[in-house]
Symmetry: C2
């Protein structure tokens, strides 16, 4: 199987001002066309380090992706270093210049000298068009290796990958014999899943492996299989996936890579149901998750962020007495919030969340991380208390995910698993 490597260039990645999301994205897309990403190397904007990384990559990888260092500014040296590595000079590319001119015209702006200089490319490259920006992509073939240089700006890189590079690579290396299947679970910690899956793991054939990918409140289970016979591998993978689904059962919310909010959106749409929200400690994050899904206006009617007691009383009619007696973070208050949202938005379901996100506001009785979640349904309203962490951002995330999971269990009380 063909293997690949990503070299990411930029001091900003090393000193942590920018997170290298490109490498993950490239790795994901490569595995979809049967190319194995074996290494990611990040180096700074220094000629010697970039050259060493290229030399090392040439020894161990067949396809070498290079991201970054193609901008119009002085710190961008990738093209000059590539010229040195390949021992070639530069030429000005007319189509690249035309693209730069087109983009500036569209934006109603005048070209600067820095921008026209972006049309310079090493003479031995094939230009990869960049429809989203001014820096061209470049494809090199050199001593039996393919080198692909792309801008570091994620949406520019992704656009040229999708439109040009991935189709070209897929055509060249189409015997794909790597397969991944991922199940997304929510509501069970990694070590408990691992204990449940102990026997399953022991019976796995040598060419199939299981990985656990925990993240806040969720664990992804990834089955990876390698083999030469694609059909046989597919068959084996399906069998193992079926067994895995039977064990992980109700904790699985997706086997197709959708997010929890997409799964819920699809469930709501299929039932012609609608949702509204009343958020306190999640502060709009729950609504943001729901509305990040395209088409969510079909089922999401809106929400209230009642961050103050006054807004809970004025907008949702929460009783002042309950707030005084039980506190804003209480079963009584979240129940009132969910009921009012359902009624006033006229939706099938409503979720409400009130908690102590922290770092301040905790007490002995209600420490930071205490969160009440209520759901209003056509059958009634109920609430549940959760204890999350000491970290504000994690609590916001966990509260929102847990609220969505409460809704998921409400609208999909059981999961059917079909034999392969």
């Amino acid at each position: 199987m063909v293997n690949a490597e990503v070299i990411a260039i930029g001091d900003e990645l090393l000193i942590g001002q920018v997170i290298n999301t490109n490498a993950a994205w490239i790795g994901q897309r490569l595995s979809m066309i049967g190319i194995k990403n074996d290494f990611v190397s990040t180096v700074g904007d220094q000629k010697q380090h970039i050259l060493s990384a290229l030399q090392l990559a040439a020894q161990r990888s067949q396809i070498i992706f290079i991201t970054g260092g193609l901008g119009p500014t002085k710190d961008d040296i990738t093209k000059a270093v590539l010229c040195e590595y390949f021992q070639v000079g530069m030429r000005s590319d007319e189509e690249v210049l035309a693209n730069i001119t087109r983009i500036f015209k569209f934006r109603g702006r005048t070209l600067t000298d820095l921008n026209t200089m972006q049309a310079q490319v090493p003479v031995n490259c094939k230009v990869i068009p960049n429809e989203k920006g001014t820096a061209p992509g470049m494809w090199f073939e050199f001593e039996g290796r393919i080198y692909i240089s792309m801008p570091g700006v994620p949406y520019e890189m992704k656009d040229m990958m999708e439109k040009t590079i991935l189709p070209d690579l897929a055509e060249k290396y189409s015997e794909g014999c790597i397969q991944h299947q991922t199940l997304h679970t929510v509501g069970i910690p990694e070590s408990f899943l691992a204990a449940k899956l102990h026997d399953f793991e022991n019976q796995l054939p040598g060419n199939i492996s299981l990985a656990y990918l925990p993240e806040a409140g969720m664990v992804r289970l990834r089955l990876s299989g390698f083999g030469n016979d694609k059909d046989a591998l597919t068959q084996k993978m399906q069998e193992q996936l079926f067994a895995l689904k039977n064990i992980a059962g109700k904790y699985i919310y997706s086997d197709q890579g959708e997010s929890l909010e997409e799964v819920i959106g699809n469930l709501l749409r299929s039932q012609q149901a609608s949702l509204s929200l009343a958020e306190s400690c999640t502060g709009g994050y729950l609504a943001h998750l729901m509305t990040s899904v395209s088409g969510s206006s079909d089922y999401f009617m809106g929400g209230l962020i009642t961050y103050s007691n006054a807004s809970k009383i004025n907008w949702l009619g929460v009783s002042e007495e309950n707030i005084t007696k039980f506190g804003a973070v209480s079963e009584e208050v979240v129940l009132e919030m969910a009921k009012a949202a359902k009624e006033k938005f006229g939706t099938t379901y409503a979720l409400s969340v009130s908690g102590i996100a922290g770092p301040n506001g905790g007490s002995q009785e209600k420490p930071v991380g205490t969160v009440w979640i209520a759901i209003a349904t056509p059958k009634g309203t109920r609430a549940e208390k959760f204890q999350f962490s000491e970290d504000r951002k994690l609590n916001i995330r966990l509260a929102a995910i847990t609220a969505l999971d409460v809704l998921r269990h409400e609208i999909l009380p059981y999961i059917t698993i079909n034999e392969p």
Copy 2:
């Protein structure tokens, strides 16, 4: 200056199921104590690749951080590989076992065999306590190099870095001669900033460099200086920073690394002012940004997410006639939304946003990316129209940032820059 390298281990990083945020965070913290992060290498869960990465790192880096592969599950092999690399065996560590037992007791759960096995460590390591999880950190000194192995779970890794590793390293290598200063700008594209800064860049001394770090709607300008005399370097950096601030002027929202939402929070708090929101296309994301800041309940009263026309009419009293005549994405409607939010929440300011996030819902007259933003202030209400991109998530982000920037200019009409 001492240099470092990060080796991140995990197939999930290579096939892109997890983004390597750890490397960025480590690089950032190291540069704060004067250690230069020169390389990040990502390799899969394969013994040979991990061993090669360790050998390469030993040739070029003095401190080697290793993240990942310490979990309780089968795919975690880092400890076994380290034993092979250092040619040592394992021992069971009592304190680690006590920590694992404590964590499980606190969570009200029973230990599994997999968990007790996490107390095994290579005999030559000094254990680094992990207060947040079960996998211990490990510190090795070997042939003049320091190797530090940590769990891949970000909050566990960060906790042991902050509490143990960074203080220890800072004490060992405290001559810090690397300095970074970053200005955060919003509202001007990278190439326009670069044109403005052309002369400034040309006059920079050889040991100070400028980097541009663009991200959605924002550009960070980073000055980096290297030198042996810390005081002289500080002096020079301050002079250049002053010059840079004068040129970038009103586009700068922070020179201390705060987020735009933190800057706005501090401005609101210092003026004893309050904010409410009425969001349509941003769907709660603007509220989420505001409430992700600890203490935001001091100035943020709440918001309404009116995702349907009915909710705009019912909750905010937007006139049905205006919606019919001008559409939900119009100057008339956002003005009504902002006015109603300000009045009903009783806040000093209110922001409203209505637009076409996409990918559907665009028209010739109002293409995807059309967004109206209004602000209600004690002096009145005004609205402005923006044209963003074709990408839904980017549009949500750009609309929210732009709305915050509208508010920033309202409450801070000019910026004072003090000479160093």
